[in-house]
Every structure is written in C-alpha cells, then in structure tokens.
C-alpha cells in the first residue's frame, strides 16, 4: 500500500479506531495485523519474504545469545546470509539482473522491487539487531510476534527510518497517545503530503525532462535540472519520513528523525549528518567506527579507508551499477578531502567574514552534492556521460534564454507551462526559506492549526493528484 493513496487514507483511520478500541495490552496485535495487511496489499509475496527473514533473524539472535561455542559462527553465518540476500536483491533489481536476462519480462523490475518491498531497510535493522546481541549491547528479544511487528510496522516498513529493535519494541507496550503527540502526528502527515504532492511531484516532470530528453538542453538547463533533482529527492524522501513519523505518532510511537534541513549544511560531512540520518547512523555504527577502530594505528589513513569502505557499501546498498559506484566514490572523496583539510579550512573560516563563509560553504556543499546526484539519477553511464557533455556545452544550447532555459525546464513556452513552472519554483523556494519555522510549528503540537489549514489548502490547489509518482526511495 502506498502512503499517498486513497486506500491508505481509508486504512489509517480504520486501524486507528481499532487500535484505540482495543485493550492496551493487545494494541500491538492490531498494529501487527494491520502491518501485515499493509504489506500484503502492496505485494502478497513480500509477506512470505518478510516473515521468513524475520524468523531467521529472531532465532539467529536467540542462538547467538544462548550459544557459547558457536555464537561467532552463527553470527557471521547469519550476516553472510543477510548480506548475500541483499546483494542478490540489488543484482536482481539492476538492469543486468540475472533473472531479467533469463525471462526478459516487462515490468520485471517493478515486480522485484515490490516482492522485496522494505527488504533493504529491515535487513539492515536485522543485521544491527544481531550485531548488538553479539557484542552484548542488548538482549535477544523473546517474543517472535513482537519482533515481527518491529520488522513490519507499516509506518516505517517501506523506507525506514531505521530503528533499533530494543527502542521500537519497548514502545509497542507504551500507554496511549497524548493529545500533543497525536496533533504532532497529524501535522507531520499533512506536512509529508504537502512535500510529496506539492513540491516533489511538481518538480518531478521538470527534472525528468532533462533526464529523458536531454539532447535538446543547454548546460544551464541541465545543471538546474540536476540541482532540482537533489531538491526533489529531498522533498520526496523527507515527505515519506514525515508521513512515517507522523503515522507512528498517532499510535503513540516515536520514530527517529531522518532529515534535519540538509541544505543548510556547511560541509558535505555535515550534510551527511542531516540527510538520511538513520541510515548514516547505521553505517557509522556498524561499518565506519568499527573500521576506524580496527585500523586506528594508521592515523588519518584509517579514517580515509573507513570513509571509502563505508561509502562503497552505501553505494552498493543503493544499487549495483557504475553510476552508484561513482556516486559513492565522489562522496568518499569529498569527505576524505574535508577530513584532510580540516585545519586549513578552519583557519580560512576565521580569515573571511562569517556571512561570506556561510553562504560560500552552503552553496559549495549543495553544488557538490548535486554533482554527485547527476550519477545517482542517471539510468546508466551512457546517460551520465551525455549529461556531463551537455554540462560543458553553451548555456542555452543553440537557443536564447527563454527557449533554451525557461521553456526547456517548463516543458514548453506556453503560458500554462510557464505559470506552472513559476508556481513550482515559488513554492519550493518559499518552503525552503520557511522550512525551519514550518517544521517547528509542526512539532509544536498544540499550535499550528493555521499552518495545517494552509498546507491542506495548498495541497488541494497545487498538489499532484493525477499520476502521483511512487516515493523514490521505494526502489532502494
């Protein structure tokens, strides 16, 4: 089931009603059954995959905790099984997927994505769970159904946020939701719908014009589209996170924040502390820090090695392909550079006016991230190369500013197209400018009715209802 769908808008109130009429002791069961239904509607076969892997992880955890002699073997075997499954899934999803070569079926890729819906996300959570048990940070859970709920909880199933088992499972038994939490939940859901339907989905056609019919675009239009893709990706994914966090709040469950205004970052490393926070936390805790610790005697080299290893795995997690490899290498390079030049940059920071430093850093960070996203968004290397070639061409192609830039992005020089393009740009810029205040109001709980009202009106007036697209991160 998709969050942005009439079905979900019917599903959620029904589950909420059932949740609150059920005795508190059994409410987790309502969540479990509704989560299984949520996944079953998305793709019934995905349920089998989910239940199998959850059972595997749950009992592996028990064995790791119970076993003395074989715990290392069990832990690493389980990790190998989970990693291989993940790699196999990524391979199947990729264009070179083995099954695609065998069957050559149309729509195959979409099928695999749905079959393994949420797989990338719950597998990482399962790995973390086993690692935490192995390193004696937590006790293995004793109730398999509650563990299944941890894996399947519909609010975070498709694309996170990534949670730790012990923090989430503990919340399933919490007392009923407070009024403030409930209102926060509603506001976050509406904010998520706004970001997705009004901002991300309005940006989507503008971006795809450059990535599908790029042959006609000049360098300025391509560069702008690549930047807009980064903004679209942010709105799309943070919208999903907002809806997930908001939905969970309605049930009295608090999920981790996944974004913290990443475009305000002064460096790429800060960007990664503000973007997809729970995934980066996972990579930091289970790959980066262990590697740095392991190679600690090598000083800076340990950090650089850990950065490259972490981003290579992150690239692999996003998908198998050269474009993801380059994307991850670029980020590894950025972070390594920042790590190596930390002192010099600090010195420079104090030698220039603060406002200039801030503006320069924000812009540079944004452009570096956008450049890497050219590869992230490109379907293959051929397209990436084509876009790079165009980036080096004349600003407006062989046309003027209006035709070679504005009309190219707007999808034509018609008044309607220009009007829609202007509205989108205005809404996006306004939101980015006011984002801090909007988010603060959404999280305030008792305040913010007016904001809620305005967002709803904007959704109805400018939201994309027809042909609304899937959340981009569903594919990962």
């Amino acid at each position: 089931m998709q969050f942005i769908s009439p079905l979900f808008l019917c599903f959620l109130p029904v589950v909420l009603a059932l949740y609150y009429v059920t005795k508190p002791a059994f409410r987790w069961l309502v969540l479990l059954l509704s989560s299984l239904l949520f996944i079953g509607i998305l793709k019934p076969e995905a349920l089998i995959v989910l239940v199998s892997f959850s059972a595997f992880t749950f009992y592996s955890g028990k064995l790791i905790q119970a076993g003395r002699k074989y715990r290392t073997f069990i832990f690493y075997s389980a990790l190998v099984v989970q990693s291989l499954s993940l790699i196999l899934l990524k391979y199947m999803e990729s264009e070179q997927g083995v099954l695609k070569l065998v069957f050559e079926e149309e729509g195959y890729r979409a099928d695999v994505i749905l079959l393994a819906a949420g797989f990338s996300f719950y597998t990482l959570q399962h790995m973390a769970y086993l690692a935490d048990i192995y390193y004696d940070r937590v006790q293995a859970d004793t109730k398999p159904l509650r563990f299944l709920l941890f894996s399947s909880f519909f609010a975070k199933f498709n694309s996170g946020p990534l949670e730790k088992a012990e923090t989430l499972i503990a919340q399933f038994d919490r007392p009923p939701v407070s009024e403030t939490l409930f209102l926060q939940g509603v506001q976050r859901i509406v904010l998520g719908f706004f970001k997705k339907m009004v901002l991300a989905d309005r940006l989507a056609p503008i971006v795809s014009r450059a990535f599908t019919a790029q042959a006609h675009h000049g360098s300025l239009a391509v560069a702008t589209s690549v930047c807009l893709f980064t903004v679209q990706l942010y709105f799309d994914f943070s919208a999903y996170s907002d809806i997930a966090i908001g939905t969970a709040k309605l049930f009295g469950i608090e999920l981790s924040e996944n974004f913290d205004r990443p475009f305000a970052s002064l460096s790429v490393s800060e960007f990664w502390r503000r973007w997809h926070i729970t995934l980066i936390r996972w990579f930091s805790n289970y790959i980066y820090y262990p590697l740095v610790y392991h190679f600690r005697k090598n000083g800076k080299l340990a950090v650089i090695t850990a950065i490259f290893a972490t981003f290579l795995i992150s690239g692999l997690w996003h998908g198998i392909g050269k474009t993801f490899l380059i994307w991850s290498l670029l980020h590894a390079f950025y972070l390594s550079f920042e790590s190596l030049t930390k002192n010099a940059r600090l010195k420079w920071r104090h030698s220039v006016p603060a406002t200039f430093y801030r503006a320069f850093s924000i812009l540079t960070t944004f452009l570096l991230v956008c450049f890497s996203n050219l590869f992230f968004r490109s379907a293959d290397m051929h397209q990436a190369k084509q876009l790079l070639t165009q980036l080096c061409s004349s600003p407006f192609g062989d046309q003027g500013f209006m035709n070679g830039f504005v009309s190219a992005l707007a999808g034509g020089g018609y008044q309607e197209a220009l009007f829609n393009f202007s509205v989108t740009v205005f809404l996006v810029l306004s939101f980015l400018f006011l984002e801090k205040k909007i988010l603060a109001r959404a999280n305030a709980g008792n305040r913010g009715y007016l904001q809620l009202f305005i967002l709803l009106v904007l959704i109805f007036t400018f939201g994309v209802f027809k042909n609304a697209s899937y959340f981009i991160y569903m594919q990962f």
Partner: protein, 322 residues
C-alpha cells in the same frame, strides 16, 4: 482537540466548496478556454471544423469564409478524441444555432485510440454533483475521475496543473470584461515550429511500420457524433487533410483503414461524404509541413483554398442533384 479538528475540517470544507464555486465561475469567464467560450458566446457559424490538433492548426475559418462566403468556426481542441469532439459539439449547440455543415477530421490515428485522448480538464466546470450527459461521457472516458464526487474542489484538484492557470486567466478576463478570445475564430495559427521531428521519432519507434487498430470505443463515439449531427440536421462531412508522403510507407494498413472509414461513411445513410486530400502535391515536400500530419502556414494556405474549392464544387453538384 476534537472541537478544534472539527472546526478545522469544517472550515476547510467550506473554503474548498467556495473555491470550487469560484473556479466554476472563473473558468466559464475564460474566453480562451474553448469549451467555456462556445458555451457562453454567440458564434452562430454556418460551418464548424471539428477534430484534434490537425484541424485546429490547419483549418482557417477566415480563409474558408473568404472562399465560400460561409461563416466558419474551428471547434477543434488539441489531442482530442471523438468523445471530446462530441462534448465540444454538445456545448456549442447549447448556446448557438445549429451549423449547416460540420467537417469532422477522421484518419487512421482518430480511430486507433492511442494517438488522441480525452482531455477531462477541458470540462470540469460543466460537471456538477448531479447526473448529466457531459458527466456520463467524462466518467466513461476517465473512470478514475469519479473521485471528485467525494470531496469539494477535488474535480479541480485532480487536474490543477491545467485548471489553475485557466481559472486565474478567467478571473483576469472577468475583471477586464474581456469577451473576445485570443483566437477569435478558434483557429490556432502555428508559429515558431519549423519541423517538430515527429517523423524521425515515429520511424525510430516503429522501424518495421505501424499497423492501425480499429478501436471499437472510438468507432462508437464516431457513430454517436454522426447521430448527433443527424438529430440536429447538420450535414457532417468526414475528411482527411494532406499528410507527408514520407510517412506513408510506415503506415502499414492505411489503405485498409481508409476503406473502412469510407465504407462506414457510405453505409451511414449515404449522406456522410468522406473526403481524402492525401494526393495533393504538397504532400511530397517537407516545405509545406512542420509535422507528419500538420501543414505549416504555407501548406495550410494552399490546402484551405483546395478544400474550399472542393466544397464549393461539391455544394454545386449537390444542389444540382437536388
């Protein structure tokens, strides 16, 4: 909290309902929106041109009037299928006297069902919560659109990318008291397009050629259109304008479809002629076209003259027969 939520939802519903009424009003005031314009203004043409973008960008009513003396109006809309053509005619007839002649553009693309579509966003201002002829066609053509019934303003929200601009333009026209559209006779003169590259794309997409499918649904709406003409005593004439000869080898069953249309027109009471202009000399050269099926201004001028002459001759023959 419940009280505040109730107030919030009620206020939202009221506002959306108010917005819906405003959009209803402003869209009807938009004189550039053809569906609204023909339904609110007296045109009273003797001749109508109806179809998708080909007649819209090719058939100049002023030229036709110059050569025939008959007042003409171009009722065509972009990418419109027969269902949309039918609704446009219905809206026109509600506010205008019946035309004597209606030239309906029919070609392989029109009966195929994949080239033209129903553009729902041209009609939401005519759709209320009650049953109507327009609503029934809209729902048949765009089944997902029924969602609009569940919530105020949703009929506009669903297509807001198309509708918002038209509503704002309608507001502007209302405030300015404008009554003449940007294209007063409905004909949109193409400008700025030298060659749209559709031929190259078509050849790339269909290297082995394309076989038209005879879509029963399109055929059904074509039949309804003819019925509508018959009921209103309008002489309908089916026609096909020149197409670039370069494309013809890629249209594998073009002759078969042409024969089918011709037979069908002949069977229909023997009073629906089917005129085909694909042997005109201009079809040989790209100098007269900006797309496969669209002549440029130079080509249109020649075609409009030929078409009007043919019509004059036909009218003469017809009256002498009578």
């Amino acid at each position: 909290m419940i009280r505040k939520f109730a107030i919030l939802i009620l206020s939202l519903l009221l506002l959306l309902f108010g917005m819906e009424k405003c959009y209803d009003f402003f869209l009807m005031k938009n004189v550039n929106l053809k569906s609204s314009y023909v339904n609110t203004h007296k045109i009273d043409a003797d001749v109508l041109f109806l179809g998708p973008c080909e007649p819209l960008w090719m058939m100049d009513p002023d030229l036709f009037q110059k050569y025939t003396g008959l007042k003409a109006y171009n009722l065509s809309t972009v990418h419109a299928n027969f269902a949309e053509n039918q609704l446009m005619l219905e809206l026109y007839l509600r506010a205008n006297k019946r035309p004597k002649y209606l030239f309906l553009y029919v070609t392989g693309e029109s009966v195929d069902g994949t080239f033209n579509v129903f553009n729902t966003y041209n009609f939401p201002q005519f759709i209320g919560y009650h049953r109507s002829f327009i609503k029934s066609i809209v729902q048949a053509q765009d089944s997902s659109y029924i969602y609009h019934e569940f919530f105020p303003f949703l009929k506009y929200a669903y297509y807001n990318d198309f509708v918002n601009f038209n509503a704002f333009q309608g507001l502007k026209h209302f405030l300015a008291g404008r009554s003449i559209p940007y294209f007063p006779n409905g004909y949109v003169r193409p400008h700025g397009i030298v060659w749209d590259g559709r031929l190259e794309r078509f050849e790339k997409e269909h290297p082995k050629g394309y076989t038209f499918k005879w879509a029963p649904e399109e055929y059904g709406y074509l039949l309804d259109l003819l019925e509508m003409g018959y009921r209103n005593d309008i002489q309908i004439i089916l026609y096909e304008s020149p197409m670039l000869n370069e494309i013809k080898p890629f249209l594998l069953n073009r002759d078969e479809i042409k024969n089918k249309i011709s037979n069908f027109a002949g069977e229909y009471g023997n009073n629906v002629p089917y005129w085909v202009f694909d042997t005109m000399k201009i079809s040989d050269s790209r100098d007269y076209f900006f797309s496969i099926l669209n002549t440029n201004n130079k080509g249109s001028a020649i075609f409009n003259k030929t078409f009007a002459d043919y019509f004059n001759q036909w009218q003469k023959n017809n009256s002498s027969l009578k």
